[in-house]
Amino acid sequence: MRALPALRFQLQLALALATAAFMIVPVVVSVLAGVTENYFVGWRSGLTLRWLSEVWAMYQSTVWLSLRIAMACVVVTALIGLPAAYVLCRHATRATRLLEELLVLPVAVPGLATALALILTYGRWQALRTSWLFILVGHVLFTLPFMTRACLAVLAAIDLDALEEAAATLGAGFGERFRTVVVPNAMPGIVAGALTVLTLSVGEFNLTWMLHTPLTQTLPVGLADSYASMRLEIASAYTLIFLLMLLPLLVGVQVVARRFVAGSR
């Protein structure tokens, strides 16, 4: 009688381990390939940082452009997303629900469709088409719902009504209330939203591949280029640089999530 549950536990553990192996083994292979002298010979050929420095020399600009777009994306989505989240929280009417639905559309519809629509509409404006701002537009559309949702979750969890009323009794006008009550209270949401927006923007490819030009190559665009035309070690080293960029963002998400959960208890 005891043997059956134990067997079931072992089978499930085996499935979990196999799944984890499926997720992690290719990452390990990629990281190793990026620091191996010759992937086809294996690690007996020796470890090297040569590929990493070659990638850095070739593709450095894509890293900086991706960071610039991601930062700008956070600023824009916070500036337009927080006021929208505030309204969604304070006035839950049919109109605001419709607004919420609309803002999610660019996430529900594939980036390829949004990118084609943007190109067919604004592609003739050369100044915009060739600028990094064109990519930023796509990223803002795609990440805005995540910022709004993160802010909304935090605002909905506090008693905004009472706080604002207290501030109003003390003579604070709306502008002052928004600055001194809403923004500080929404800060955990803004931070959580910012981390999500950074992560999504740095990795965005579906829109970016269509929107980029040879002079506005982001990191994922460069990655696709290296996968298609570079030797495996270079492609792997480039992927390693990308993973190293993602790591602090992912750890940040974990830390913020934990602190937010702890704070709300």
């Binding site: 799944t19 997720m23 990452v27 594939p110 067919l120 999504l200």
Partner: protein, 271 residues
């Protein structure tokens, strides 16, 4: 009145960005779809053209297969990881959720490392049987890539929802003589169903619309995003590309909207 004027003012920036850069371009996309040699009939002709229909059906079939596989694997694994406590569990959860933020292009490259010409599977199978197993550059590779992409987010959704389940219900069913299989199908599955539907819709929508993985593996795979990309960039066939992307957008939006109708939860496609 003052308050609703203020609401409008506060939502105006988001509304303006959305209208100028999404609503207006989408309307333009609809117009471009009808601007080809066939005019507005293009919308109908695309649907009866066997070439595009095959591409659409292949994409739907692939996405359904990925969704089912992801739900089965993540359902069991997520339930197990949330309920059992054993050494190394936290590490296992961390390993499974780390690839959450990988974009499609990177996933495509990882599939090549696993199942490509110089991949791990090719080396292992050559050593075992003498034949090299290579399937990265077609539907098999795409299936593997989308499964890779879907597993982390589905596992996290399942874990979050298993945490909310009340184990005493399963206990009660067992006391009443239910077999483990019956407990699963009659107690656990119904309780998890809304979460599974929502997560499944996201898997489906992402697999339908994802472009990066297919682009890395091969630009000749017959799935809708690649067809659209080729029509647009290689053949400059703007009206067909517009019609096809509108159909694609409609399918993914419908899948997500349907899931929300069924479950009342927010669902949105992942990157």
């Amino acid at each position: 009145m003052r308050s609703s004027a203020r609401s409008l003012l506060l939502t105006l920036p988001a509304l303006a960005v959305f209208s100028a850069f999404w609503l207006l371009p989408m309307a333009r996309l609809c117009a471009v779809g009808a601007s080809g040699p066939q005019g507005i009939a293009a919308y109908w002709l695309v649907l009866v053209d066997p070439r595009y229909m095959r591409s659409l059906l292949a994409t739907v079939a692939l996405s359904v297969a990925v969704t089912l596989a992801a739900l089965v694997v993540s359902g069991f694994t997520g339930f197990f990881l949330q309920r059992q406590r054993f050494p190394g569990r936290t590490l296992l959860v961390a390993l499974l959720s780390f690839p959450l933020a990988f974009p499609g292009v990177v996933v495509g490259f990882l599939v090549i490392l696993l199942a490509g010409r110089q991949g791990l599977l090719a080396a292992v199978t050559e050593w075992l049987t003498g034949d090299r197993l290579v399937f990265a550059y077609g539907m098999g590779g795409l299936f593997m890539g989308y499964l890779y992409f879907s597993i982390p987010r589905t596992i996290l959704t399942v874990m979050a929802n298993v945490e909310k389940l009340d184990p005493s219900l399963e206990e009660a069913a067992r006391t009443l003589g239910a077999s483990p299989l019956q407990v699963m199908t009659d107690v656990i599955l119904p309780a998890l169903m809304p979460a599974l539907i929502a997560a499944g819709a996201i898997c489906f929508a992402t697999s339908m619309g994802a472009f990066g993985t297919a682009f890395t593996l091969a630009t000749q795979i017959d799935v809708l995003p690649i067809t659209i990309y080729n029509e647009f960039t290689n053949y400059a066939n703007f009206s067909i590309a517009a019609v096809l992307s509108l159909i694609l957008g409609l399918v993914t939006w419908l899948a997500l909207a349907l899931a929300r109708q069924l479950t009342g939860t927010q669902a949105a496609a992942a990157a």
